[in-house]
């Protein structure tokens, strides 16, 4: 059997039915074989955004999305996509062609050291040494990507190894890789005791809750012990935000209710979070009164950014179940805490359906929250719109929130939506993007058109790199430089030129109708929503400052002292 066929058969054997890729000289044997298979191939326009598609697929399907690229620039272009997947623990399988083994090291055409380029941005990577390794390497790659903390795995495939026949006798048997069991629940009795002794517990749910699909057990524990649940940006969508104990996202642009709960808590149960700087801000002022139980599948995360924690290493679902089974129903005993949380939550459910023109981003988020189905998938790009969505969009029901939270990669949002829609074709997939980020990967719009992937793109268009502008305004002497675009495309016409549909919206009263059209469309659709360039995403706590440095803007909390919220119910 030819190496290329062995490779594709090995992928099919792992359940792969879709490959996101761009062919090139070093991968043409694989494509030659693929032409006679049932595999669906999504032909991207740029390797970086094509990896984002595979990543979006992974995040929604909770299984590996596969990218196939060529050597040299095919691999170097893919690095940003793979790094994005790595930072957010997404199990992308990245396969890149390589020059033939006899040419390696001679600076051949389109030769790059893909293996070493991928080392820092993958959980593991392989360089094929002979064709007989193909099935075992593919098997190992899938196992490594999807066990323990998920992560991308890259495979470098020299062209001669897939173009040639593989001697059947040389095929290595695949021995199942069993990663060492790194779980450690030795502190479980201590953790249970801490929960029993706490009077103001809070659960902080991170991205690990989404990956392990442990939202239901998080809420079960929350209800049992009377704990509000706060999420990180990566944890958003892991729990239903319409639950009375859900307070929304914490962090730099998070909800003040969440910041308040973390500040008041005497015990934070952190689940599947790495305590990123965007969640903690200045760590010296973070969790001033709380002890911390840190649950994570990756032992290396426990104590990395927040020291002195009680660590429980293991799968979030398993650990939470073990805790939930051991703690008694305690919510009634914490009635005062639960009542206070409820008042704070109500106070923080502000009316952000801001009227008037130019359109306020909050108004757009209000309409999206109102009109998207309860099982919609919202992907975001990176910037102001991402933080507006994180703060204001409600992930109720089975809604999902897909975002580049760790690396913060602009250009991610739209291609990720394409991958998400391929993973979940029966659900509405909406991509909220800024005009800056969209222009980094909008060449993939035609990819969506030609593959009949009807994603709906909502551009929060302020004709600017809004977050850069906001930082310049707030922290760099209000010198707005290289942030505003002098020219901006007509994205509705762009959509039509690519074979999709689009509409430009300049008045708040037109948003609802535009969103309804986009949700009904059976072709890729763009709603180009022109928003107020001067509306910043606030509140905001700069990461180098504590809560005292928060800039509140319209937020009602500006009139309160955060340490004295007990009189909120009277306001």
């Amino acid at each position: 059997m030819r190496g290329a066929k062995l490779l594709l058969d090995s992928l099919s054997h792992r359940g792969v039915d879709t490959i996101f890729g761009i062919p090139g000289g070093a991968s043409l044997s694989i494509y030659e074989e693929m032409a006679s298979t049932d595999l669906r191939h999504i032909l991207g326009r740029h390797e970086g955004s094509t990896v984002f598609m595979a990543d979006g697929f992974s995040r929604v399907a909770r299984k590996p999305g596969v990218f196939l690229g060529t050597s040299g620039p095919g691999a170097t272009n893919a690095v940003t996509g793979v790094a994005t997947a790595y930072t957010d623990s997404s199990p992308v399988i990245c396969i890149t062609g390589q020059v033939a083994t006899q040419s390696m090291g001679r600076d051949a055409f389109q030769e790059a050291d893909s293996f070493n380029l991928m080392v820092p941005v993958t959980k593991w990577n392989f360089k094929l040494r002979h064709g007989g390794e193909i099935p075992s390497v593919i098997g190992k790659a899938f196992k490594i990507a999807t066990t323990g903390r998920f992560g991308p795995v890259a495979i470098d495939v020299p062209s001669d190894l897939v173009s040639r026949e593989v001697d059947p006798d040389s095929i290595l048997p695949y021995s199942e890789v069993e990663p060492a069991d790194t779980s450690d629940l030795s502190e479980l009795p201590n953790a249970v005791s801490m929960i029993r002794g706490s009077s103001r517990p809070v659960i902080l749910a991170g991205g690990g809750v989404r990956w392990s699909d442990s939202g239901a057990i998080v809420m079960k524990l929350a209800e049992k012990i009377g704990a509000p649940v706060v999420t990180t940006v990566m944890g958003k969508g892991g729990i239903p935000e319409d639950h009375p104990l859900a307070l929304g996202t914490a962090g730099m642009h998070g909800r003040r209710s969440s910041q308040w709960a973390l500040g008041e808590s005497d015990l934070v149960i952190a689940v599947g979070t790495r305590f990123s700087d965007r969640t903690t801000g200045k760590t010296s002022g973070f969790l001033p009164k709380a002890r911390v139980i840190h649950i994570d599948i990756d032992r290396a995360e426990i104590g990395k950014n927040i020291p002195g924690v009680v660590g429980l290493a293991g799968n979030s679902s398993d650990v939470l179940k073990a805790i939930t089974d051991r703690v008694e129903y305690q919510a009634d005993g914490r009635g005062d805490w639960v009542r206070q949380v409820s008042e704070i939550r109500t106070f923080c459910q502000c009316d952000f359906d801001l009227p008037g023109n130019p359109i306020k981003p909050q108004k757009l988020m209000s309409e999206l929250s109102r009109l998207l189905p309860d099982d919609a998938i919202l992907t975001t790009d990176v910037g102001q719109h991402q933080m507006f969505a994180s703060h204001f969009f409600e992930t109720r029901g089975k809604r999902e929130f897909v975002t580049s939270g760790g690396l913060g990669t602009m250009g991610f949002g739209f291609p990720a939506a394409v991958g998400a829609k391929i993973a979940a074709p029966d659900r509405k997939v909406v991509s909220i993007v800024g005009d800056g980020g969209f222009q980094m990967s909008y060449s993939e719009f035609i990819t969506a058109v030609e593959n009949n992937v009807p994603v709906f793109t909502v551009i929060m268009n302020n004709q600017s790199l809004g977050m850069v502008r906001q930082f310049q305004k707030q922290f760099y002497g209000n010198k707005i430089y290289a942030a505003d675009y002098q020219r901006s495309p007509d994205f509705a016409k762009f959509a039509e030129a690519m074979g999709g549909e689009g509409v430009m919206v300049e008045r708040a009263s037109e948003i609802g109708e535009a969103l309804r059209r986009g949700l009904k469309s059976d072709v890729p659709f763009i709603a180009d929503i022109r928003v107020d360039i001067n509306e910043d995403i606030l509140p905001m706590t700069p990461p180098w400052m504590g809560q005292e440095g928060t800039i509140y803007g319209r937020c009602k909390w500006r009139d309160l002292k955060i340490e004295e919220p007990h009189d909120i119910s009277q306001r």
């Binding site: 293996f115 080392v119 959980k123 593991w124 490594i144 290396a300």
Partner: protein
């Protein structure tokens, strides 16, 4: 001291775990025997060991990580 399988990449990943944490490597020895490799890495500051230890342990292919005292290093190197 780091023991690992001989799959390509363990050396690069080990060095990377130091460099990404801005921990200078004072000395490094690498020895491959049959199907496993042994690395001895020395750092200048003792506190840097704790910063990198857990991250070395999670590299696929690494089978054991041991912290050796200076006297032990003298005996084993």
């Amino acid at each position: 001291m780091i023991l690992a399988s001989d799959e390509e990449g363990t050396l690069q990943r080990t060095i990377f775990e130091f460099s990404r944490r801005n921990i200078p490597i004072g000395n490094l020895t690498y020895k491959r025997e049959s199907d496993c490799v042994t690395m001895h890495i020395g750092v200048e500051k003792d506190e840097d060991v704790n910063r990198v230890l857990k991250h070395l342990n999670r590299i696929y292919g690494v089978t054991d990580v041991k912290v050796l005292e200076n006297e032990e290093v003298g005996q084993k190197w």
